[in-house]
Amino acid sequence: MHLKSLSRDSYASWGALALAVGLTAAACSSGGSDTVTLLTHDSFDISEATLEQFTAETGLTVEILRAGDAGRMLSQAILTKDNPLADVIFGVDNAFLSRALEAGITRPYEPSRLGQVIPAYRLDASNSFTPIDFGDVCLNYDKAALAELGVDPPETLTALLPVGQAADAVEELADSLVVEDPATSSPGLAFLLATIVVFGEGESGMSWQDYWRGLRDNGVLVVSGWEQAYSGNFSAASDGDRPLVVSYASSPVAEVIFASEPPTEAPTGIVEASCFRQVEFAGILTGSDSGSAAEKLLDFMLSKEFQEDIPLNMFVFPVVSDAAVPIEFQRHTVVVEDPLRLPPELIEENRDRWIQEWTEIVLR
């Protein structure tokens, strides 16, 4: 009798039992000593062969945790600061560097090859974050579409303003630009910062706010993310009708490499005067218990092998002076001589206010 009613009730407890077993299994499976975990964003990529070389050299396997875009990744790192998800974080850029430093999510470490890093990218004196790569966010244009409109590629930001608001404004460029929301997109934020560097807060002449009012009046389209801007609205890469988009300096290279029939010349180009430099950093998460393993991974990320593998996987440039850049990059894009930059502290101090003002001007 007892047995019978017991067996009936246990029908329902099966689930609970399974859950308990699962929990135990999970507890046993996590935390192997010969792995090092890397928390990164969805755009992270590197060759299998490169990581295998790291394993051969150190006996460590790299486990990759992808956490969405850079903003999502950083907020997760901050929320889990006391008990981090990983040992190393990669992908914090200069726009959020100060915030990450303030939150204290990483600890100082000097990788062995830090001396090889081009000094301009060493933005964190405390060495809590190590620069790994850099790239430029630039306006990209569709060569064929502009030729059809009968206009030359714009050389300045003011060319995109309504006629009458700037000496070199081009009438045909009305309704031609698509940008990303700086609140939800990292290239969107970089382009906003570019306009702030160029126009300033209205110390003399046109302010960045004036510039964006002009863009708004001239029909700028704002979308939430890069995917929609580029693969949804940019005329060179979609059914969209916008010949100008905020993307990366390396996008023309990708257009060549990922074409069905690789063309000799890229179908798109970049507006050099609009380029804002982004630097991406990595650091060892505080609270990570795999001390030397994490250090070895950080050392490896500055190695020649890793650095030279960066361009064709992530479409950004190495930060060490002795890494060679692949031929495709030399042919189809330029490393901008004098890109627009802002100190991370200044960005941190003003970022939220800038985004809010921008939102008021452009979206409301």
């Binding site: 009613s5 590197i46 956490a67 993310g225």
Partner: protein, 557 residues
């Protein structure tokens, strides 16, 4: 063993005691599951976000409640969800009717087609919608910058919810009742309004509450098609969390959202109870007939064309893009799916993605069915304040911010053991969203079982377990298969919290689509479209398979 023995030896285990233990077990399982994977993360993230220097700081609440723009966001969230729900009901009911009442070739296929939109990533659907209703619309219909493109997308996504939940019940309602009313002189409309509509009410209420909650927490559609002119609470929570790293305001908004959802669900649940009726359900074969009259044939053809245009057009556009290589037709993008160009770590083979998507969906479905049916049995058993409370509690995961729950999991689930990077957390997160579906679909069906039958069985000495197995299970099986289909689709479409947080490398189909869309170049875009087409095919096949599942004669549907 004969169940009569139970009656003969009441001192060992009386039916009453047995029932109690049984009810207790069925109540405890969902409570433990939801408690650990939902409420515990939710409370943890809210408390963590509102704690400043060791003290609870409630100023974000007053910030939110006094901010005009945030209150406007709350108002928009509410009315667009209501509008989307009404629109979806009106647009989908005729289809539910025809699928319930008529038998015609290709019916199963049509039902599977209707479920496909449900699983597609919003980025992909968004790009199709912009091509169809943007400035270059082939219909000359530019809906960008209007609310209509959002409502239309919500309709596209939630069509299946109405067709399958309402159609599921409709196809078992005896048409002779309506015919009798017609014979007595009632008009078509009168017969529908006075006979069929009241019988359908539980399913209508279930479908509308699900559509409402889905659109109330709408995220991707708003972000992509709203061109940032529109924002729901969910979008605002996401912006506050990831753009401004303003966790306090995000938590306050999430609590506001939760309070709103709870109030709405409470009202709904009271309404639902008062209206529930017992039915005698009939097998579908007796209900659905071949369209005999010209009028009926026209209606069936009309519905097929209507669904084809409404849901089929965006899907065909995506498939066409996956096949269009430099302006010509070709399979290049599908071929490219299988090759890793540079042996990179981000490469996902299509078979691996399909495999991962499928096993994750199987686990999510099993968990959702076990937990959901347990809960539904308890809720349907009695009508008390406690069961109503339980009902509302179970629906909450559908109406709560997925961003908040995801981040809550990161803060909370490292205790007692660290589950945050556990692969099985992904299907468990999906199950969390699927459980309300299971409950919502199963409760009306279980309640419709005449209490006389249950009592009669008990009087005759059947134990509660046996009543359940022999009486309720076959009837519930119908509801289970419908909800299993949805649970599967929810998991294939990667709904819910786990898509917002860092996860171990278990790439699924949607993850693969995102990865391709993340890089410039025609091949990447083409591969994203090809992978989306694969996702559509997998979904259709699974739904076709689930639809064949049956238990007894009522189980067929």
């Amino acid at each position: 063993m004969d169940s009569r023995v139970d009656r003969d030896s009441p001192q060992v285990s009386s039916p009453g005691q047995n029932l109690k233990a049984w009810t207790w077990a069925l109540t405890a399982l969902p409570l433990v599951f939801l408690g650990y994977f939902f409420f515990y993360p939710l409370v943890s993230i809210v408390v963590t976000s509102l704690t400043r220097e060791g003290n609870l700081d409630l100023t974000p609440f007053s910030d939110v409640l006094t901010s005009g723009s945030l209150l406007a966001v709350a108002w928009f969230t509410l009315w667009q969800a209501a509008a989307s729900t009404v629109l979806t009901l009106v647009a989908a009911l005729p289809v539910a009717y025809v699928l319930a009442r008529y038998q015609f070739p290709g019916k199963r296929l049509l039902r599977a087609l209707i479920t496909i939109p449900f699983v597609l990533p919003t980025v992909v659907v968004g790009s199709a919608f912009l091509a169809l209703f943007g400035s270059a619309s082939p219909f000359g219909l530019n809906l960008t910058r209007t609310i209509w493109i959002i409502l239309l997308a919500h309709l596209f996504y939630n069509f299946a919810v109405v067709v399958r939940t309402v159609g599921g019940l409709w196809s078992h309602i005896d048409p002779r009742m309506e015919e009798a009313a017609r014979a007595l002189g009632a008009s078509r409309w009168q017969a529908f309004r006075d006979i069929t509509l009241p019988l359908l009410r539980p399913a209508l209420a279930a479908a509308s509450s699900i559509v409402f909650l889905f659109t109330f927490t709408s995220f991707g559609v708003i972000l992509i098609l709203g061109e940032l002119r529109f924002a729901t609470l969910e979008v605002e929570i996401f912006r506050q969390t990831t753009a401004f790293l303003n966790f306090g305001v995000a938590a306050a908004l999430a609590v506001l959202q939760l309070v709103g959802v709870t109030l709405i669900l409470w009202a709904y649940s009271r309404y639902q109870e008062r209206r529930s009726v017992s039915l005698s359900l009939k097998p579908e074969a007796l209900v659905a007939k071949r369209p005999a009259s010209g009028r009926a044939r026209l209606m069936v053809a009309g519905v097929v064309v209507y669904v084809g245009l409404l849901l089929g057009t965006p899907l065909v556009l995506l498939i066409q893009r996956s096949l269009s290589v430099d302006g010509a037709l070709g399979l290049d993008f599908y071929r490219a799916l299988g090759e890793s160009r540079r042996g990179s770590t981000a490469f996902i083979s299509p078979l691996e993605a399909i495999g991962n998507s499928l096993w994750i969906a199987v686990v999510a479905t099993i968990v959702a069915l076990i937990v959901g049916i347990s809960a539904a049995t308890v809720i349907a058993m009695r009508q008390s304040r406690a069961s109503r409370f339980f009902d509302v509690l179970l629906m909450l995961p559908l109406g709560t911010s997925a961003v908040t729950i995801g981040f809550g999991m990161l803060v909370a689930l490292d205790w007692p053991v660290d589950l945050r990077s556990w692969t099985l957390l992904i299907p468990l997160g999906h199950a969390l969203v699927a459980i309300p579906f299971v409950v919502r679909i199963a409760v009306p069906v279980l309640r419709s079982i005449r209490p006389e039958l249950r009592q009669a069985a008990a009087v005759l000495g059947a134990s509660p377990g046996r009543v359940w197995r022999e009486l309720e299970l076959p009837i519930a099986a119908r509801a289970m298969a419908v909800s299993a289909g949805f649970a599967f689709a929810i998991s294939l479409g990667e709904f819910g919290a786990t898509s917002f947080i860092a996860r171990p490398d278990t790439p699924t189909l949607p993850v693969a689509i995102f990865r391709f869309l993340g890089q410039p170049g025609a091949i990447n875009f083409g591969q994203a479209m090809a992978m989306s087409t694969v996702l559509m095919a997998v979904t259709a096949l699974v739904i076709l398979a689930v639809d064949r599942f049956r238990v007894g004669e009522l189980g067929e549907f």
